[in-house]
Symmetry: C2
Subunit: 360 residues, 2 copies
């Protein structure tokens, strides 16, 4: 501002010229603005303003991976759209923070540098160090689709009123998917799961291992699977599980191949996301199996293209984003919202599942 003072005659009057026009005589204001323009003054520096005011006018979204990767996922886009549904009316910026999943970068998680009034964490496993870094920020935070409160190391003790949790009912969703397959008569079912922990190696797993899972979405869904199996009176070993800790088109295909190779007698597959399910469908086709005649497939998310006609567990990604942001805004304003109930899911039966033996 000193810059503009030279031209005009005032230190803090410049500030007023920009921020409270009504407190200045129009003439003075005019003069100040003109001088500023001539000096190539870019307007009040946001960083300084944020520091002084204590408000960033933005919230940060931590997606737990590189931004480019996150933007490739339709569910994430929907979620972000929901978030902005709530933040747009407040003119709040959205800071996307690039993170390397479970990798120790020398500078540490990027979340530490984001200037924001609050944090939304989307789909980051509970054992990822990013979570720890997020909590350290000590900002109002909403954690979505992630650890349960109790899973976060060091959270129980501190008693932070700033952190809110939000997620779907993973147990019920997975249970519905599995029950659907069981009701169709399938008795040998493949499960393409996320990783039991962030650093788990890709490959086979056992349903029985679920108790030891640290990634709690995986844990909850496996539990849902087990519950459906139990309700149908089927052994847990009927489920053939492979885990895919880091989902990319390649890892998804590899897992699908591995599953169909090692357990060719599987007549149905439940995949933990539509992306995984689509990979399963395409791999199955390559291996000469017809979906749904030879192989039933259920996904999760309901984000596949309509043309795929994928049977899946639907969840309202956009609503979830909006709700997360709404709760965050409340938290930023100092009122802590009551804990949210798990969001419902809904099984949608389309064309990729059919009764056992309907092929041939």
């Amino acid at each position: 501002v000193a810059v503009a003072r030279a031209a005009g005659v005032s230190p803090s009057t410049v500030s007023n010229a920009f921020n409270r026009p009504e407190r200045l005589s129009p003439a003075l204001r005019e003069r100040v603005l003109r001088a500023a323009a001539e000096l190539g003054y870019g307007g009040p520096d946001p960083a300084a303003r944020i520091l002084r005011r204590g408000r960033a006018g933005a919230i940060a979204v931590i997606l737990g991976r590189l931004i480019a990767d996150a933007l490739g996922d339709p569910a994430t886009i929907e979620f972000l759209a929901g978030v902005s549904d709530a933040t747009d009316p407040e003119q709040l910026g959205l800071v996307l923070v690039p993170e390397m999943p479970y990798r120790d970068v020398p500078e540490g998680p990027a979340v530490r540098n984001a200037a924001a009034d609050g944090l939304i964490v989307f789909s980051v496993p509970g054992d990822d160090p990013i979570i720890t870094a997020v909590l350290q920020r000590n900002l109002p935070t909403v954690v979505v689709d992630s650890p349960a409160l109790s899973d976060i190391p060091g959270l129980a003790e501190g008693g932070r009123p700033l952190v809110d949790f939000l997620g779907i009912d993973d147990v019920a969703g997975a249970e519905a998917a599995m029950r659907h397959l069981l009701e169709l008569g399938h008795r040998r079912i493949g499960v393409v799961a996320f990783g039991l922990s962030t650093h788990a190696p890709a490959g086979p797993a056992e349903l029985a291992q679920r108790g030891a899972a640290t990634a709690n979405v995986t844990k909850a869904r496996l539990q849902g699977c087990a519950r459906a199996l139990a309700a149908a009176g089927v052994e847990e070993t009927a489920a053939v599980v492979v885990q895919v800790p880091v989902v990319t088109p390649e890892t998804a295909r590899t897992a699908a191949h591995a599953l169909l190779e090692s357990a060719p007698d599987v007549s149905a597959i439940f995949a933990f996301s539509d992306r995984l399910a689509m990979a399963v469908c395409s791999v199955a086709r390559e291996r000469g199996r017809i979906v749904p005649d030879d192989l039933s497939v259920v996904g999760f998310d309901d984000t596949a293209p309509a043309s795929a006609r994928l049977t899946t567990v639907h969840q309202a990604h956009r609503d979830k984003g909006r709700l997360a942001a709404e709760r965050l805004l409340v938290a930023i304003n100092g009122e802590l919202p009551a804990p949210a109930a798990p969001l419902p899911t809904r099984l949608i039966v389309r064309a990729t599942t059919s009764p056992l033996g309907s092929g041939r």
Copy 2:
């Protein structure tokens, strides 16, 4: 930091504890960090750090509309993915800035409050006040798919080396689309265009008005249309133009209806985006016209679902985003890149165009 000093014994040692661990004895560092944790210190405040260092560690993307709207557009998502391809390796955050298109908000354009090291402006018409606000920031800036340098009010004089421009060859793209239709024998062609200016009312327009257009993407594409017409020796009045200044599903459908209603003799339509083209296809179908037999349709962008088999002008959105970010990073580092050549486009003929008279 004073907070932690109370606990430990040092003012700036705390800073070092967080930022240059190697300059501290492990023991001291340990002690400081522990004290910080106990006091609930959230780590160095990003705003203060940005102010002091003069680096925000983030770049802002101005999309010229509300974030929720922007995220609904596949081309924008692709563009953003390209941007992050370039920024992710640098661990730079991406600040999405919500703007109201051509609306005077009391607080002014949100871009003024974004803490960033550089700005990318995507697809904002040259006459939108947002552009002015962006330029005022006086930050390294890349303007994509927008005004030509000369179109920006007040830019010519200042001589800012900070602003870079990047865009596709709109004239050539539109010309290719139009030529394709003309080569198929169509002689009465509808054009569903963007607005001639940001505040233009939706509705009919004339190709001849293009000279007066202030939105320069519209201008360039209309010029491409005229050029194709001229090359084919067809009167300019053969083109029936409607403009859609603000594209939403509703305005797109309204425009399509209006066009088909007022000029039912049109045998082909060139729409300025795939979203518009898809609306045209669906409206045409409702009105009992078969695509492509009764009506050929060409889009622009190549972002429609593959299942639509839309003939369109392809452009590499992701590459564009990456290039924009790369150039911005160069500009931030003080070297001003040489002006970029217009990016190429490519007509892709799929299933929504056919020779005139092939129906029946």
